[in-house]
Symmetry: C2
Subunit: 396 residues, 2 copies
Amino acid sequence: MTAVTTPTADRLDERLARIALGRVYEPGDHRLSSLAEQLGAVRLVEELRRQRVDKLESELADRLDGVSPRRDLDRAESLGIRFVIPGDPEWPRQIQALAGLPGGRGRPGVPLGLWVRGPLRLDEVERSVAIVGSRSATSYGAECAAEIAAEVAMKGFAVVSGAAYGIDQAAHRGALAVRGPSVAVLAGGVDRPYPPSHESLLAALAAEGAVVSELAPGEHPTKHRFLSRNRLIAALTRGTVVVEAAHRSGALNTAAWAGRLNRVLMGVPGPVTSASSTGVHHLLRNGGAALVTGGAEVLELIGGVGEHLPEAPRMAERRHDRLTSDQQGVLDAFGYGEVTSVDALARDARLGLVATSVALNQLAALGLAERVAGGWRMTPDPALQPALPSDDRSPS
Amino acid sequence: MTAVTTPTADRLDERLARIALGRVYEPGDHRLSSLAEQLGAVRLVEELRRQRVDKLESELADRLDGVSPRRDLDRAESLGIRFVIPGDPEWPRQIQALAGLPGGRGRPGVPLGLWVRGPLRLDEVERSVAIVGSRSATSYGAECAAEIAAEVAMKGFAVVSGAAYGIDQAAHRGALAVRGPSVAVLAGGVDRPYPPSHESLLAALAAEGAVVSELAPGEHPTKHRFLSRNRLIAALTRGTVVVEAAHRSGALNTAAWAGRLNRVLMGVPGPVTSASSTGVHHLLRNGGAALVTGGAEVLELIGGVGEHLPEAPRMAERRHDRLTSDQQGVLDAFGYGEVTSVDALARDARLGLVATSVALNQLAALGLAERVAGGWRMTPDPALQPALPSDDRSPS
């Protein structure tokens, strides 16, 4: 389904009609969105007022008479808030995927429009990732969210989240810390900071990124509006990363939307002893989420093919890495913690005595073997020493 | 490939011949194992002595004259050590799966026999799981290993590991703590505790479970023997759980054997910030391992179908769980943190004024809503209060 492209002269009427509809209907109404697409919002409002549209309740149609979309728009503009609708150059086309979902479950309608505050244009957030999770995040989860947000934001991907406590705010802050793009999607008006204590976080996002809502300025969040908001977070982004989520976490609702929209679903594991990670582990086990451990892996999954290949993990080179095959053969022939004769080493390594002796002296020079009473032994490798302390020595 | 079943009278000769071969050849020699299966070890030894077997080196054949298998066996029996070979009632049949692997890589040969110390019979460890991981385990990893080991051991599954520092010892101890079956597979003789500081752990396993090796008593561990030992841990068990493993961990070698043998491969995630979990996360991402968070999930994967269904996670019932649809509708109509009039609630909930008032009073009785100046509001839910402290209040 493509966005309505009414002639430019009609755009203001279309915009005002969509504001009016948004004031009367709760977000996500699939039938309303479809009708607005098919008829245009101007005609839909006319039809509703004439009550000729089946099944749409006349009470709601009556309420259309009481709204003042022009005043809403003027007031919003005076606050630096714009209203973006389908067909506008700024409209984020990826969000239209909602139109393809069946209407029965969870109010998936394409938003009538998006109220936006901030310099970031919504048509520039196609390269984006949602980072969501528990409001009662642990410091581990907050650290992971901020790290991943910073990494993807540095590559120009917008970090989209819900500005809630915990993981959401850590994700926004991670992006802001590297002056990367970040978008908060709210369940109430963009002029009403929620939670109220995140007022300055939202002010920072409005100054450098964007604060977005399908609810008009002044509207308050409700439970259903939070759930509707979650579909926008999933629909705006290429993929959703769940960092921490207990069972029943709202983040799992966003994850479900990402799944329905066939967007990439990712989860960051945590300690299995942490209740804050149980929901993520469930997603990783049964929910089709891919395990990611950092921003590079997120970029690998959401980036274009070959656009972001994560670096192979680098390991410190060990002394053993550059041995000749004779040296390695002799070293492997040692018993662990054993003093071994040159004869026995030669036999086990299947080398001659001379070759074995040469290799032994080279190993000694490398600090890997040493001559002791009765033969030779491997020099203990600090990396192989026990890391567990006393209880290793006195098992009971 | 089935085990050789020579007549009972010949079992001692077969046993002695296998001991002799084991003294001369390093573990895992695929061709030697195959020949022993096909010819019987007695005839193989004869053929080797006559040097009529192609490509087996004559030097090794010569050394067969120097071994004393009868003395080895007598000495072992005096130490309470038995030697179990294919065809014995105690032979663990699941280990024969090694015969099906291609010989080219990593010496997968079926062991010539297994030296065993301890009361646990090897034919009773078919219901078993390997729990392996890093020697330099964290306390988190050790706790996970011990917990999982205890859970599966309580269900009668033997916990098989390598008695190394870290995860291995935690797994054995977890099983011993519930007096469950546990088997240590060593890379040297079962009479030689390795690491030496685990002497009393190994003594406990020999007293209540089993200590096993394909190397004869007195033999010392080498690097290759550790790698060969890992194949036995994988082959003895229905599945392998990797709890913590850095890159290059030996546990990943055991995991690779489990994969080649089509046994269930499992990994316990940890913090992505922990180097000790990087190898496990890699297995979970790219190695085909299933994510498990506890013993119940391990049992689900390795148990018979329907034998072990993990309990669905139980959640504390919340006050909201038993509301009527009217009560829920009114509750959902509240703005978060907003004082709302009965009129507005009625409109948003699409209920009449009377029904709304009834529901409000019921919600008040449940402690979910309260009447305040100007209308009603939701009673703040402690579970929804911010968990992050000061920085939530002063975002900067």
